[in-house]
Amino acid sequence: MPGAIYAEGLVKTFGDVRALDGVDLDVPEGSVLGLLGPNGAGKTTAVRVLTTLLQPDSGRAVVAGHDVLKAPVQVRRSIGLSGQFAAVDEYLTGRENLQMVGELYQMSSRSAKARAVELLEQFNLTEAGDRSAKTYSGGMRRRLDLAAALIVRPPVMFMDEPTTGLDPRNRMMLWEVIESLVAGGTTLLLTTQYLEEADRLAHDIAVVDHGKVIARGTADQLKAQTGGERVEVVVHDPALLGTATEILTAFSKGGSTVDKHTRRITVPVAGGAKLLAEVIRELDSRGIEIDDIGLRRPTLDDVFLSLTGHAAEADQAVEGEASEAAKPGASAGAGVGVVGTAGEENK
């Protein structure tokens, strides 16, 4: 049985650009698919086709049991869409916005009104509910937009880069809302260029580039595909880089990568935290002073890099993960190092 969202061979061209170049998707009911890719990869086009906003040149798509081309109205009844830009009327109040959308979903004006009250409460907008949306902050608009998409509790939700442009606090808040939604059984297709976001929210991930799905699987599967854990060491004294590399290579599953400029050594390992402790003891006993050390599990950044040979929207990704920089073992602090490492590995 096809899933709640099913697509087969979707193609859509704009002039010379093949925005979708044969995309297949299958999202089982109640699960979350993360469509991951850089700007211009075709994520938004895919969402627009699946939400009946755009007709594909060829291919077939079924959403909530209805064909998007043959029964668009039935599809629209069953979906909620939260697009890249908060789709609210800024001159209407939050309450009026929600009520309007409810009535356009063909709810009676009374039940639309009641549902608006509920949603304002749920999204912490009750106080601002009678102010025009113009006065809302970016995060509030996003919440209102999401609330509007949820008016009829649609079984299938589409969210196109739901947290782009939000500050970390609002992003966390939205993640929690999305998680509770999914816990309630909603099927969700989410596009994002934040690898961290796909990792946290999605059960399955489809990596999209140039209109094609170039990899799919769970976050763990994709990471395993890229390679296992690594130990990363930053040596204090550049003169000891050679010795340190020798020591680390002894623990390695295969080779090492050295970035002389940042004095960083990376080796693939198996053995986790226990091994890390051994590495530290060994380095210490040989009198090598280290500035930083960590056990790094591959991130989706690495996955993307190894699949496409280019970073996923480098500056955006760095910005998106800036909050992670402080955590040991996180990738963001090693932003530059990541590029260097993968480049070596690809050879």
Binding site: A4, A86, D89, L92, A183
Partner: protein, 285 residues
């Protein structure tokens, strides 16, 4: 954690009724949205009223003394009575620009994707906007009528006929707002829709019987003016308001049966431009 029932989860959304009932309902919901917006941006409505009032005063006092009207003798107020139908008609056609700008503005915001992803009637976004513009046009008419009465315009053939004339004016305005809708859907910015909605209105409204008697025009332009849809409404109003002093100087069918011509022209414009606009709205990516 997630509810894993075998039966597919259903939406809370009621089954769309479809057809004309839903179309009317959705259009009214959209019209209400546009009216709320107008009420919250009152400067737009106010500017929309100042311009026609200015026109009434300018034409009445600047041209009023200079342009002679057939059949009026030396009566100075005759031109005011003559041109008022023309100014009324010109003003209702300015709704084109408002509808065009409003729709162009909507089309380039994320909101339109929301509307297009909802199980709502396809033409409702556009119909709602044109209906709201009709309300605004009606308000402008009220202000203009008061103003016209002050400068000496009167109706001479009774209230019923005058109301029929007003009805034709509003219908013309509604028809023109559909032309505006198509312009709004065809351009990239609201500014372009405003100017695109206005520039052709000047030749259209001046190459008519609105401000000068057509027998003063060169023969070729006289034909253009006689068959101009705009002239039909002006002529119809002039007669329904009792402002036509001399016999109409033309045997062209629209000038002989101006009320019918006005009605037909307006309905034709609505059918053509509504069809084109809704089609364009649906295919807009």
């Amino acid at each position: 954690m997630a509810a894993t029932s075998a039966a597919p989860k259903l939406s809370d959304a009621p089954v769309p009724k479809g057809g004309i009932v839903q179309s009317v309902h959705d259009s009214l919901v959209m019209a209400r949205r546009n009216l709320i917006r107008m009420a919250r941006i009152p400067e737009m409505v106010i500017f929309g009223m100042i311009q026609p009032v200015m026109f009434v005063l300018l034409f009445a006092y600047v041209f009023g003394g200079a342009i002679g009207v057939p059949g009026a003798g030396g009566d100075k107020t005759a031109y005011r009575e003559f041109m008022m139908a023309g100014i009324f008609a010109q003003t209702v056609t300015f709704a084109t620009a408002g509808a065009g700008a409003g729709i162009a503005d909507d089309m380039h915001k994320g909101l339109i994707d929301r509307f297009r992803s909802l199980p709502m009637a396809r033409g409702a976004v556009l119909t709602g906007r044109t209906l709201a513009d009709l309300v605004q046009t009606a308000l402008v008419m009220v202000v203009m009528i008061v103003c016209a009465l002050i400068v000496g315009w009167r109706i001479h053939d009774g209230l019923i006929k005058a109301l029929a004339g007003l009805g034709l004016l509003l219908l013309l305005g509604y028809a023109f707002s559909w032309i505006g809708a198509l312009i709004g859907l065809s351009v990239r910015t609201p500014e372009a829709a405003t100017s695109g909605g206005l520039i052709w209105l000047f030749p259209l409204t001046f190459l008519s019987n609105a401000f000068v008697p057509t027998d003063s025009l060169p023969t070729f332009l006289q034909h253009v003016a006689d068959w101009n849809p705009f002239s039909a409404t002006v002529q119809a109003c002039r007669e329904l308001f009792g402002n036509q002093l001399a016999p109409v100087p033309s045997d062209a069918w629209p000038m002989q049966h101006p009320a019918w011509a006005s009605l037909l022209y307006s309905l034709l414009i609505i059918v053509i431009f509504r069809t084109l606009s809704v089609r364009k709205y649906r295919s807009a990516a």
